[in-house]
C-alpha cells in the first residue's frame, strides 16, 4: 500500500498503520472539537456556580446532576435505539448549540436568574457526558482492541489539545469578555458537525469491519427499539465483568467528586470575584492540559504496552492516594492544585483510555447498552453518591451545628452601623472578610442572598478539606481493590472471546476409543478365517479384558444372526465352526482364565510344547506362518518366567510382520526388560513401529532411563529417536518430562519438532508436571531467533522478486517455528490460554488475531512479550522484517 503524506506525518507521533491516517485524524479532530468548547464552558460554569452559589453548595449540584442524568439516560437510550448513529450525533450537537446559545442569552440578560448557575452546571455535565460517550462509542465501532490500544493515545490527545486551547482561551478572554465565551463554544460545535459528517462519509466509503456491527444492529432494529434504562441496567447487573467495571466507575467518580470539592473549596477560600475566578480557572485548566496531552500522546500507549492493563489501572488511584494524604495534612492551595492536577492529568489520559480499553472485549450489543448506562448515568450517579457522602460528613452531625452557628453569625453581623458603611445590598458575611471591603466590584456583584460558607472561617473549611481527605483515602483503597478485580476479569473476558478450536487429538482418541480393544476386535475378526486357534486365543483375550460384550459376540459370531451375516459380507460366511463362549457368567469366565493359566504353567505342558514350538520356529515357510502366529500369541498367555517365553525374541525377528506383531503383543504382556532393546529397534520399520510403540508404552516408567539413553544417542536412527521421544511423552512421568527437556537443551534442530510436540503432549495430558523453565525459555528465544532469520530471508527473496523453491521451504519453516514457539510457551504459561491464542492467530481473521494478541498481552510478562509480539502482530512484511532484525540483536544477549 502506498503511504500518503498524511500517514508519513502522523506516523511520527503515533503508531499508525497505512490506511488508518484519515480516520485517525478525523477522530482526533472530532474529540478536539468536543473538548475545546467544553473547556470554555467548564471554567465559566464553575465560576458562575462558586461565586453565585458557593462551594458549600457543590454537593447539591452533583446530586442534581445525578438525578437529572437518570432521566436523560432513559430518554437517550431510546433515541440511540431508534436513530442511526450519525443522525443521533448530529442532532445532539445541534441540541447543545441551541441550548448553549439560550444559556448565553440568559446569563447576559438584564434580569438575573438565581437558578441559572445550577441549571447551567447540570447542562454542562450532560454536554460532556453525551458527546463524550458518543465519541468513545464511535471509536469502539471503528477499531478492535489492538488498534484501539495503539491509537487511543492519539485520539485522546486530540481531546486534550482541544481542552488546552479551550481553557487557555477562557483564561485570556475570561476576565474581559466572559459573556462572549459561550459564543465561541457554539462556533466550535458547528465546526464539529462537519467533522462528524466526514467521519461517516469515510466509514461508508471504506466500510471497515466495525460496520458489520452496525449492520447487525440495524438487523436487530426491532429488538433495540425496546432498549431502555432498565434494559441497560439489567445488562450491567447480569454480567459480572460489567458489574465490576460499574463499581470501578462509581468509585472513580466518587473520589473525583471528593477531590473536586477539596480543590474548589480551597480556591473559593482564596478568590471571590467571578470574572477573576473564571480567568483563574481557565488558566489553571490551560496550564493543566499539556500534562495529560503529552501523557496521552507520548506515554499512554507505551505505559499500557509496557505494564499492561492491570498495572496501568493502579497508577491513577495510587497518585491520588498520595495527593489525598498530602492535602489531608496540608490543605493549602499548593496541594489543592496538586491533587486536582493529578486527577485531571491522569483521569483524562491514562485512566479514561485504559477504562475505554476495558470495554473492548465486550460484544457490541452488550457494550452499547453498558456504555450508555455506565458512562452516561453511572458516573454522574457516582458524583451524586459522592455528594451525599460529603453532605453526611460535612453537615452531619457537627456540620449542622456549624451551619446553625453560621446563621446566627450572619444575623449578628447585619448591624445598622455596618450597613451604613456599605451599600444596602452588601452581603453581611462578606463584611467579615478583610479583602472584601477593598473590592467595591464584589459589592456590586453580590446581593442579599447569603452564602453560608462565606461566613465561615477559612480554618473551618480547611477542616472539611481534611475530613474529605480521610474519606478519599478509604474510597481510593476500595477502588484499588476493585481495579485489581476488574483487570483479572478483563483477562477472563478476553479468554471467553476466544474459543479452543481444536484439542490435542491424542487425548481425544484416548478418551473416546480403547485402541488396544479396537485392535483386538480387528485381530479377532481377521484371525477367524486364518486359524481357529488364533481366533480362540483372541476371544480369550477379550474375555480376560471383560470386553466380550453381547454386541461383540454378535459381531464376531457368524451363527448369531442372518441379517448381520449378510451385512458383514463374505467375511463370516465360510470357515470352520469355532467355539464361542455361550455363557455371560463372569464367574465362569474367571474360572476359564484360571484354568488356562494353570495349564500353561504346568511343567509337563512346557515340556510337551517345547518340541512343538521349536519345530514351528524352524519352519520359516509361508504355510507355517499361521502356526508361528499361534505360538507367538500363546507365549503371551504364559508366565513371564516360563521356559517357553524365552522363544519370544526369535519370534520378534520373524520375517513375517504378522508373526512379529503377535510377538510384540506378547512381549508387552510379559514386560520382560531384556526385550526392550529389541522393541526399540522395532521402531525403525514403519510396519512394526506402531506395535513396538504400544508395547514399550506398556512397560511404563521403569524403562524411562533406557529410553532416554536411546533418545540421546546421536548414533541411533533419527526416526527411532523421534519415536522414543513420543513414547516418553506417552509414559508422561516427571522423569520422562525432564529427559525430554534435557534433550531439548541439546539443540538438535532435527529432533526439535518431535521433542516440543512430546513436551506439549505431556503438558496437555499431565498438567501437574513441571518443566524446567530455564531450558524452555532459552529454547523459546532460539525458536524466535530462527523464525526471525527465516522471515528476513523470506523478505529479501520477495523484495528481489525471486520465486524460488526456497520461498516455499521458508514458509514451511516459519510455520513450524511459530508452532514450536507457542508449544514451548504453553509449557511455562497457562497451557490452554496459549493454545487458544495460537489457534486464533492461525485463523488469521482480524478480530480473532486481535483478541488472541490481547490475551497474550495479559498473560506474558514484558520480557517475553517483547520477543513474541513481533511474530504475532498484524504488520506488513517489511515492518515485520525490520522488527525481526531488531529482535535478533536483542536475542543475541539472551
Amino acid at each position: 500500500m502506498a503511504k500518503s503524506r498524511l500517514y508519513k506525518i502522523l506516523s511520527r507521533v503515533a503508531d499508525i498503520r497505512p490506511g488508518e491516517e484519515t480516520i485517525a485524524l478525523l477522530l482526533f479532530l472530532y474529540f478536539f472539537f468536543i473538548m475545546f468548547p467544553y473547556y470554555i464552558i467548564k471554567p465559566y460554569r464553575d465560576a458562575q456556580y462558586l461565586v453565585e452559589v458557593g462551594s458549600l453548595q457543590l454537593p447539591f449540584a452533583y446530586l442534581a446532576t445525578a438525578l437529572i442524568m437518570g432521566f436523560i439516560i432513559a430518554f437517550y437510550s431510546r433515541l440511540q435505539a431508534k436513530l442511526q448513529r450519525r443522525v443521533l450525533i448530529i442532532l445532539s450537537l445541534i441540541f447543545f448549540i441551541v441550548t448553549c446559545f439560550l444559556s448565553q442569552r440568559l446569563f447576559v440578560g438584564e434580569r438575573e436568574y438565581s437558578w441559572m448557575p445550577l441549571v447551567f452546571w447540570v447542562w454542562a455535565n450532560i454536554f460532556i457526558v453525551v458527546l463524550g460517550t458518543q465519541f468513545w462509542i464511535l471509536v469502539n465501532d471503528v477499531f478492535n482492541p489492538r488498534e484501539a490500544k495503539r491509537l487511543i493515545g492519539f485520539f485522546g490527545s486530540g481531546g486534550l489539545l482541544g481542552g488546552f486551547f479551550g481553557a487557555l482561551l477562557t483564561g485570556i478572554l475570561g476576565e474581559n469578555y466572559p459573556d462572549n465565551l459561550l459564543l465561541i463554544a457554539i462556533g466550535l460545535l458547528i465546526l464539529n458537525i462537519f467533522v462528524v459528517n466526514y467521519i461517516f462519509i469515510w466509514k461508508r466509503k471504506r466500510n471497515p469491519p466495525a460496520d458489520k456491527a452496525n449492520n447487525k444492529n440495524k438487523k436487530r432494529g426491532i429488538r433495540l427499539a425496546n432498549v431502555g434504562f432498565i434494559d441497560c441496567f439489567n445488562t450491567v447487573r447480569k454480567n459480572r465483568y460489567l458489574t465490576l467495571l460499574a463499581i470501578v466507575v462509581i468509585l472513580t467518580f466518587m473520589v473525583a467528586t471528593f477531590i473536586d470539592y477539596q480543590f474548589k473549596t480551597v480556591i473559593d477560600i482564596h478568590e471571590e470575584r467571578m470574572d477573576r475566578m473564571t480567568a483563574l480557572l481557565g488558566y489553571f485548566y490551560a496550564a493543566l492540559m499539556p500534562f495529560p496531552f503529552f501523557i496521552s500522546l507520548l506515554m499512554t500507549s507505551t505505559i499500557i504496552k509496557r505494564f499492561g492493563i492491570r498495572l496501568t489501572l493502579l497508577v491513577f488511584p495510587l497518585v491520588l492516594l498520595l495527593c489525598a494524604f498530602g492535602i489531608g495534612l496540608w490543605p493549602t492551595i499548593v496541594f489543592a492544585i496538586a491533587i486536582k492536577a493529578g486527577d485531571k492529568s491522569l483521569s483524562f489520559s491514562l485512566n479514561q483510555f485504559t477504562r475505554e480499553l476495558l470495554y473492548i472485549p465486550i460484544s457490541p450489543e452488550i457494550k452499547y447498552k453498558a456504555k450508555v448506562f455506565i458512562d452516561m448515568f453511572l458516573n454522574r450517579f457516582a458524583k451524586g453518591l459522592g455528594a451525599l457522602i460529603l453532605m453526611i460528613f460535612i453537615f452531619l452531625p457537627s456540620g449542622l451545628e456549624e451551619r446553625s452557628n453560621l446563621l446566627e453569625k450572619s444575623n449578628v453581623l447585619v448591624k445598622p452601623d455596618v450597613l451604613e458603611k456599605t451599600d444596602a445590598s452588601t452581603r453581611p458575611d462578606e463584611l467579615e472578610k478583610p479583602n472584601v471591603l477593598a473590592k467595591p466590584d464584589v459589592l456590586e456583584k453580590t446581593d442579599a442572598s447569603t452564602r453560608f460558607d462565606e461566613l465561615e472561617e477559612p480554618d473551618i473549611r480547611e477542616k472539611r478539606v481534611r475530613i474529605v481527605s480521610a474519606i478519599s483515602l478509604v474510597f481510593i483503597l476500595i477502588w484499588i481493590f476493585f481495579n485489581l478485580k476488574v483487570s483479572k476479569e478483563y483477562t477472563n473476558t478476553i479468554k471467553k472471546k476466544l474459543e479452543l478450536k481444536w484439542d490435542r487429538a491424542d487425548r481425544l482418541v484416548a478418551e473416546k476409543v480403547d485402541v488396544d480393544y479396537t485392535k483386538l476386535i480387528f485381530d479377532t475378526i481377521e484371525s477367524k478365517n486364518r486359524s481357529s486357534v488364533l481366533y480362540a486365543m483372541n476371544l480369550f483375550d477379550l474375555i480376560k479384558q471383560d470386553k466380550l460384550t453381547p454386541e461383540v459376540k454378535k459381531l464376531i459370531s457368524f451363527k448369531s444372526d442372518e441379517v448381520k451375516i449378510s451385512s458383514l459380507g463374505g467375511l463370516f460366511e465360510s470357515g470352520e465352526t469355532v467355539w464361542l463362549p455361550e455363557s455371560e457368567d463372569a464367574q465362569e469366565e474367571e474360572v476359564l482364565e484360571k484354568d488356562i493359566g494353570e495349564i500353561m504353567s504346568l511343567d509337563v505342558y512346557q515340556e510337551v510344547m517345547k518340541d512343538y514350538v521349536e519345530k514351528a520356529l524352524t519352519d520359516k515357510s509361508i504355510e507355517s506362518e499361521t502356526t508361528r502366529m499361534e505360538v507367538a500369541k500363546a507365549l503371551g498367555l504364559m508366565d513371564a518366567h516360563s521356559l517357553l517365553s524365552q522363544k519370544l525374541e526369535e519370534l520378534l525377528w520373524d520375517e513375517s510382520p504378522e508373526v512379529s506383531r503377535y510377538a510384540l503383543e506378547s512381549v508387552a504382556k510379559l514386560k520382560k526388560k531384556e526385550y526392550v532393546p529389541v522393541l526399540i529397534q522395532k521402531l525403525i520399520s514403519p510396519i512394526t513401529r506402531g506395535d513396538a510403540c504400544s508395547a514399550l508404552e506398556k512397560y511404563g516408567s521403569k524403562i524411562v532411563g533406557t529410553l532416554a539413553d536411546y533418545m540421546g544417542d546421536k548414533e541411533e536412527d533419527l526416526e527411532l529417536r523421534k519415536r522414543v521421544a513420543s513414547i516418553l511423552a506417552s509414559i508422561g512421568t516427571q522423569d520422562a518430562a525432564d529427559f525430554l527437556a534435557w534433550e531439548l537443551e541439546g539443540d538438535r534442530k532435527d529432533m526439535d519438532a518431535e521433542l516440543i510436540d512430546s513436551l506439549d503432549k505431556v503438558r496437555s495430558e499431565k498438567p501437574d508436571i513441571q518443566f524446567q523453565e530455564t531450558i524452555v525459555r532459552a529454547k523459546i528465544f532460539k525458536e524466535i531467533k530462527r523464525y526471525c532469520q527465516d522471515l528476513i530471508e523470506l523478505y529479501d527473496l520477495i523484495s528481489l522478486g525471486k520465486k524460488e523453491e526456497r520461498e516455499k521451504n521458508l514458509q514451511k519453516d516459519l510455520s513450524v517455528s511459530f508452532m514450536n514457539t507457542f508449544r514451548l510457551l504453553g509449557l511455562i504459561y497457562p497451557h490452554e490460554d496459549i493454545i487458544k491464542a495460537f489457534q486464533n492467530i492461525r485463523t488469521e481473521t482480524k478480530d480473532s488475531v486481535a483478541y488472541a494478541v490481547e490475551l497474550l498481552d495479559n498473560i506474558l510478562e514484558k520480557e517475553m512479550r517483547d520477543v513474541v509480539f513481533p511474530l504475532v502482530e498484524d504488520l506488513p512484511l517489511e515492518e515485520r522484517a525490520k522488527r525481526c532484525l531488531n529482535l535478533i540483536k536483542i536475542l543475541l544477549d539472551k
Partner: protein
Amino acid sequence: MEINSREKGDVIIFDIEGEIRRSDISDVTLHQLVKDQLDAGRRNILLNFQNVEFIDSFGVGEILASYISIHNLGGKLKIAKISKKLYLVFQVTMLTKVLEIFDEEEVALDSYIKD
C-alpha cells in the same frame, strides 16, 4: 494396497485400493503419506474407502495415527464410502465417535466447507 491422491478445493483425497494390513505394506505407509501432505501445508484429508474391503489392527493404527497428526495441526481427517461391514466394526469399537464417516464423497467434501 495402493493409494492414489487427488485434490478437490483444499481437500486432498486418498483413493485407497486393497486392504490396509501390515502384510500388504510396500514402501510407504498411509500415515507417512498423510505426514507428507501436512508438511506441504495441507490440512484437510479425505480417505476414500470405496475399494477397501477390510483392514487389520495395523490399518486401525495407521488411521488413528493419521487422525492425530492432522487434528493436532488443526486439520480434519474424514472417511467416505466405507463398507457396511467395516462401518459395523467401527461402530462397535467406537471409532465412529472420533472419525467422521460419510456415505458419499460429495457429502464429505461439503462437510469440509461447513467446518
